[in-house]
Amino acid sequence: MRVNVRFFAVSREIAGMAQQPHTLPEGATLQDLQAQLFADYPALAAQRVRFAVNLTYAPLTSPLHEGDEIACIPPVGGG
C-alpha cells in the first residue's frame, strides 16, 4: 500500500521536503513506518515526534491503510 507522509517544522528540515510517498507491506503499522523513517533520516529519531493519521494523533500500534495521510509532528509550540 501507498501512504503519503507529511513533514513539518524540524522534521521537514531534517527530511529536506514537505511530503513524501511511502510504500509499505499490507498490514503495516505506524511503528513500521516510523522504523523506515528513522532509518532514512537518523536525525529524526532524536526528535520527540508524534504521528497523526488522517488529521488525528495516533498510537504506534495503529494499522495503516492505502491512501492514508501520515504527519510527522515534532513538539508543538503554537499560541
Binding site: A9, T56, G77
Partner: protein, 139 residues
C-alpha cells in the same frame, strides 16, 4: 454555539475575531492575544516564523472549542485565529475570543484554551536571533 477557527497568513485583528462571536445574548467577551516578543530570556529575537499543519490545526482548534462548550456550558461562542508565516516583533500570532452571557466562566475557559493549543495544536514556532535560529516548544 457559534464557532470560528482559522489558520491564516494575514495579519490578525482582534476586532475582526471578536465580530465572529456576535450575538445579542453575549454580554461578556474575553480575549487572549499572543504577541511576538522581542526578548525571550536574555536573547533578542529578530523575528519569528510560525508553521502549521493547517487542516489538522483547524480540526484541533475546533475540537478545543468543543471541549470548552462541554466543560463550561455558559460559554456560547468561541473564535480562535492563529497566524502563520513570518511575523515581526509586536505582531499578533494568535487571538482567542470567548463569549458568554456573563463573565463568570470565561476566564477558566480561556486559560484552558491557551493550554490546549500549546499542547495539541500542530503549530510550530521558529525563533530567529542575530546569531542563529531554533524551533521552540513549550514542552
Amino acid at each position: 454555539m457559534n464557532t470560528f477557527v482559522e489558520i491564516t497568513e494575514r495579519p490578525v485583528s482582534t476586532d475582526e475575531v471578536v465580530a465572529r462571536l456576535a450575538n445579542p445574548a453575549n454580554g461578556a467577551i474575553v480575549t487572549f492575544i499572543g504577541v511576538v516578543r522581542g526578548l525571550t530570556g536574555e536573547r533578542e529575537t529578530r523575528h519569528l516564523e510560525y508553521e502549521a499543519y493547517p487542516e489538522m490545526a483547524e480540526k484541533t482548534l475546533r475540537q478545543i472549542t468543543a471541549e470548552i462548550y462541554a466543560r463550561w456550558p455558559d460559554v456560547r461562542a468561541a473564535a480562535i485565529v492563529h497566524r502563520v508565516g513570518r511575523l515581526e516583533i509586536g505582531e499578533t500570532a494568535v487571538v482567542i475570543a470567548l463569549a458568554a452571557a456573563h463573565r463568570a466562566q470565561t476566564f477558566d475557559a480561556l486559560h484552558y484554551a491557551i493550554d490546549r493549543i500549546k499542547e495539541i495544536a500542530p503549530i510550530w514556532k521558529k525563533e530567529f536571533w542575530a546569531d542563529g535560529a531554533a524551533w521552540r516548544s513549550e514542552h
